[in-house]
Amino acid sequence: MIASFADPGQRTAPAPFGHALARLAEQDARIVGLSADLAKYTDMHVFRDAHPQRFFQMGMAEQTMLGAAAGMAEVGLVPFASTYSVFATRRAYDFLCLDIAEPNLNVNVVGALPGLTTGYGPSHQATEDLAILRGCPNLTIVDPCDAVDIEQAVPQLAAAPGPTYLRLLRGNVPSVLDEYDYRFQLGKAAELRTGRDVVLISTGLMTMRALQAAQRLEADSVDVAVLHVPTVKPLDREAVLAAARTDRLVVTLENHTVVGGLAESVASTLAFAGVGTRVVPIALPDEFLAAGALPTLHDRYGLSTDAIVQRVRAELGGTPRPTRPGAAQPTVPPTA
């Protein structure tokens, strides 16, 4: 069963988060790491092996891990606490909210397996982590595209005074953005491509897919811009409004349920500013997802490059939309 979202043969970097954190800790004695029995599976083991005195194994106890991270920040340390996104958000939300976010502490919560990046089914798929966390005041939320984003984000997350949540991509993580003139800037969106016909506003690993889709559509003479939005909250509203005040087709792409994530964040930004542009959401459906191989699931739920290309063509009126039930098309949410 294929458990990676990387394309075969794609250039990757190993454990970019763990290496970036270990490097940062060499310069900053305040950096500490915690994990809830998932150091090895959140790339925290790299930090643990490099700085064993500054790593704290908290056991399979996510509530205490986040509370303890808050306590460490209270005495002046800068903790990074890693577990799976499902546990950091669903299970330990009260602790993230009240111990970390309310006192506005510099605690950096790192969640692996965001959205649909595992085939283990709903117990492991954090398809609604952004929806849970976007309502939390003070919290900065980052959904990186690749290893480049992660490496550059880690020092900026540590430097940001308040709490952050990072949607972690782990293991051998694709490197994509170094082919573009790009630097990660916390809170800022970045236009990776310009285009006259379509603008893809994307976050997380979906930016990688957006770039691939843009190249494919270019071959059909469809000119596609890509705006990468690695910081989901606070949203770079100016960049989003600038991109969407247009007669281009506006499409959002996210590795997250269509409820409460990037699509609704962009849509509300436009509506609140009086911009009446229609937004096409490419996102996971509002349902518990199936188990299986990742490429199969990404195809099925509309996140694969093929599915994106098909969807954009259909929206442009080029080819009919596929009709296979439960396939390729994210359902339009009741709130859309």
Binding site: Q63, A68, E74
Partner: protein, 290 residues
């Protein structure tokens, strides 16, 4: 000044003098709590009267802190998990000199630094925002790990209630403290045997409390939490303990020190009629330590 602020140097005070001094402090804490309760006409006055002796001993005898410098990095931390006990802690902070006693009359009023449920961002000396129970001991765990890493000898105290033992996160944190050998952590459990919906024994049985903590790897003692002498002896014993975290389980009596409230039907949120506050203060005065 870095020494315990109100405490005569160790060894200069005999046990009887110490108990008399702390009993007087507990009396003033109760008096402050009654005055605050009257401001709102109701509140967690029963719990405040019950826990006053514990707070008098902690703030008057055990905690190392600077009343005028609540952010002093080397201070011992006192974490109030149970946000609704804020009325008692404000009284203790006034007794300690961290807040002005005159400010107590703003308790629970709009714009006051003394909200009904304790919040760190409002009140000097309030280390955490409690209220959602089961959080304090986890934060204490992280503070204690962090202080140890930094080579800071400060200690971390956490006041929990017996009702808070219902929360699974309390036991997660209890395991973590023991696993990491955090002998700089002292938990204090106020066993008043009463929860929001009624007696603890009927809501969710937590006994045998001492055995539970011991099974989790803690050095545990249990005392009458309204006996200043017993509290002093127990805290002294815990202070000397090394190698594992310590917990003092304190059996307290709701409304202690004011017979008309202590004898009243036990309630989580005690109502006191307007004309009763003077009577309550009078009864407290009659029991005043010499």
């Amino acid at each position: 000044m870095t020494a315990l602020h109100t405490v005569p140097a160790r060894g200069t005070e005999d046990r009887a003098e110490r108990i008399a001094r702390l009993s007087a402090a507990a009396h003033r804490i109760r008096r402050h709590a009654l005055d605050m309760g009257e401001v709102q006409g109701q509140g967690y006055i029963g719990q405040a009267l019950g826990v006053a002796d514990v707070l008098a001993v902690v703030y008057g005898d055990q905690l190392r802190f600077r009343p005028a410098e609540p952010e002093w990095p080397d201070r011992d931390r006192f974490l109030l998990s149970i946000g609704h006990y804020a009325i008692a802690l404000y009284a203790a902070l006034a007794e300690a000199g961290t807040i002005d006693a005159a400010e107590l009359e703003t308790y629970g009023s709009d714009g006051s630094r003394l909200p009904m449920s304790g919040m760190a961002s409002y009140t000097p000396g309030m280390e955490i925002s409690g209220g959602s129970l089961g959080h304090g001991l986890g934060v204490a765990t992280g503070m204690a790990l962090g202080l140890r890493l930094q080579g800071n000898p400060a200690r971390v105290f956490n006041l929990l209630s017996d009702g808070e033992l219902d929360e699974g996160s309390t036991w997660e944190a209890a395991m973590a403290c023991a696993h990491h050998g955090l002998d700089n952590v002292t938990a204090i459990v106020d066993v008043n045997a009463l929860q929001a919906d009624g007696p603890t024994a009927g809501v969710l049985r937590t006994e045998p409390v001492t055995d539970k903590w011991r099974a989790f790897g803690w050095h545990a003692l249990r005392v009458d939490g309204n006996d200043i002498g017993a509290l002093v002896d127990a805290f002294d014993e815990l202070r000397a303990h090394r190698g594992s975290p310590s917990v003092l389980i304190c059996d307290t009596r709701i409304g202690h020190g004011v017979p008309m409230l202590a004898e009243r039907e036990k309630a989580h949120f005690m109502k006191v009629a307007e004309h009763e506050w003077d009577l309550a203060r009078q009864q407290l005065g009659e029991g005043s330590p010499a």
